[in-house]
Amino acid sequence: MTSIGTGYDLQNSVFSPDGRNFQVEYAAKAAENGGTAIGIRCKNGVVLALEKLVTSKLAKKGANKQISTVDRNIGAVSSGLLPDGRHLASRARDEAASWRSTYKAPIPVASLADRMGTYVQAHTRFNSVRPFGVTLLVGGWDAETDIDVDGAVGAGPSVGAGGRAKGAKHGGPYLYMIEPSGNCTGWLATATGKGRQAAKAELEKLQLDANEDDCITLEEGVKEAARIIHVAHEDNKDKEFELEMTWVSAVSGPTKGRHEPVPKTILDEAERLAKKALDGDDDEDGKMDE
């Protein structure tokens, strides 16, 4: 940080003598000050959770959702400047729609994350714009079943030339994080915002390797996500917060391949367990047993 105050941090897209873009680093600071957002890639789906800081008792509970749905099967949550997050969600929806109009199919999560990364990176290239003050989490499920092309009529041949390969499987759960620099990386689980350090420490304790038998399921993921958001909130205890959580599963799972808010009954149960785990063993690692 030796170059701070020497004039290299006044404009976006200006390189400091050691090759850094300070405006992007300042944007990252803004992103780190938002409510904690986490994403967990489970065996059969993805969970997104957000610690939504409540500034006033006058705010209506459950209103003003901050986790957005992109297309049908992808969710996006950001931490940092709220309007920047909304702008990115809107951009993501446009990207998904334009993909659909070209390829007549939903956009794969990886392609959407890549396009969003490119868009965010474009805002580090000119001094006429500022970088985004958010870190964006993109989580979704690519259909592994054979899905119809949009507007398809008829089924086409079932075998032979133009037929389908039997038993071919693609798709699955995906989770990406896009930083203000445009850096876009895939994760098993990740966290951003104020409580990210505590959250990441908790996430590292989970079994997230899908090849292992004890890889956590979507239902466990929901409970863990609720608990981790509560753990991450410990540093910020004086402020009220509301837990917002969404999930996406396979077509065979509870959300039928769509990104949706976690149903209220499941969310309430997860939160009850989370509070119990926090009160129960503060000294232990907070690992809960049902």
Binding site: T69, V70, R72, R100, S101, K104, D150, V153
Partner: protein
């Protein structure tokens, strides 16, 4: 179509001189949009009953007189309240289906609106019909119509049965029973016998409505040379959409045929 003015019976060249082509700027032709449908689907038939709506269309897409595609599903589910049935050009049907999917994605960013207790605003059949009528009217006003006759069947905002028509001209109307194409001539009389007015739909059961529609599909297969003996049928009520795509035509009556001989005098 021949756009050259000579083909229109204009005054003779030897009397009035050669035609002045200047306004056509050399080889330029007038812009010609869709002039005829190519691959087509035939009738769509629908009727309202006390709790919902039944709609059916066969699975054939004809290429002129050729029965070219035999597994084309012309009933498209929009959401748990709405099914859209398409007659007319199949490529235009695909286009409209994509428009509807785009609309569906946009409208359902916050939850899919599929579950019964989802209290978010869900597009009703009435909303979908309004959207389609605007699209169809805009296109015909651009002299570039989407060559379809469409029935929108389902439930309105109050979960009352809804059924309405819109076609390539943007013409819309609704009724207790509706049919497009050949169905308007052959199916409507049968259905009107059952539901002459809105009031009578209130006493019609689901079974009666399904039975009537199946009867119409049979009559249409007997009499419409562009129809087929496999069809899709959907029932839309408060429980959602029950859409079956491969229903075979049953109980056809052909036994009388072997008693018919010749065209008058022939006896063997």
């Amino acid at each position: 179509m021949n756009h050259f003015p000579e083909a229109w019976g204009r005054p003779r060249n030897d009397v009035y001189g050669a035609y002045n082509w200047a306004h056509l700027h050399g080889q330029q032709q007038p812009q010609t949009h869709t002039q005829t449908p190519i691959v087509t689907g035939t009738s769509v038939v629908a009727i309202k009953y006390k709790d919902g709506t039944v709609i059916a269309a066969d699975n054939l897409a004809s290429y002129g007189a050729l029965a070219r595609f035999t597994n084309v599903h012309r009933l498209k589910r929009f959401n748990r309240k709405t099914v859209v049935g398409f007659g007319g050009d199949v490529s235009d049907m695909q286009h409209i289906d994509r428009l509807l999917q785009e609309l569906n994605v946009e409208e359902n960013y916050y939850g899919n609106g599929e579950s019964q207790d989802d209290d978010r605003a869900l597009m009703s059949a009435k909303n979908v019909h309004k959207y389609l009528s605007k699209v169809m009217y805009k296109r015909r006003s651009d002299f570039n119509p989407l060559w379809n006759a469409i029935l929108v069947a389902g439930l309105d905002e109050q979960d009352k049965p809804f059924l309405a028509y819109v076609d390539l001209l943007g013409t819309t109307f609704s009724g207790p029973s509706l049919a497009t194409g050949f169905g308007a001539h052959l199916a409507q009389p049968i259905l009107r016998h059952l539901v002459p007015d809105e009031q009578s739909t209130m006493s019609l059961s689901k079974e009666q409505a399904v039975e009537a529609v199946k009867e119409c599909m049979k009559v249409l297969f007997y009499r419409d040379a562009r129809s087929m003996n496999e069809y899709s049928i959907a029932v839309i009520d408060k429980q959602g959409v029950e859409l079956k795509n491969k229903v075979p035509l049953e109980n056809q009556s052909w036994d009388f045929a072997d008693r018919i001989r010749g065209y008058g005098t022939q006896t063997v």
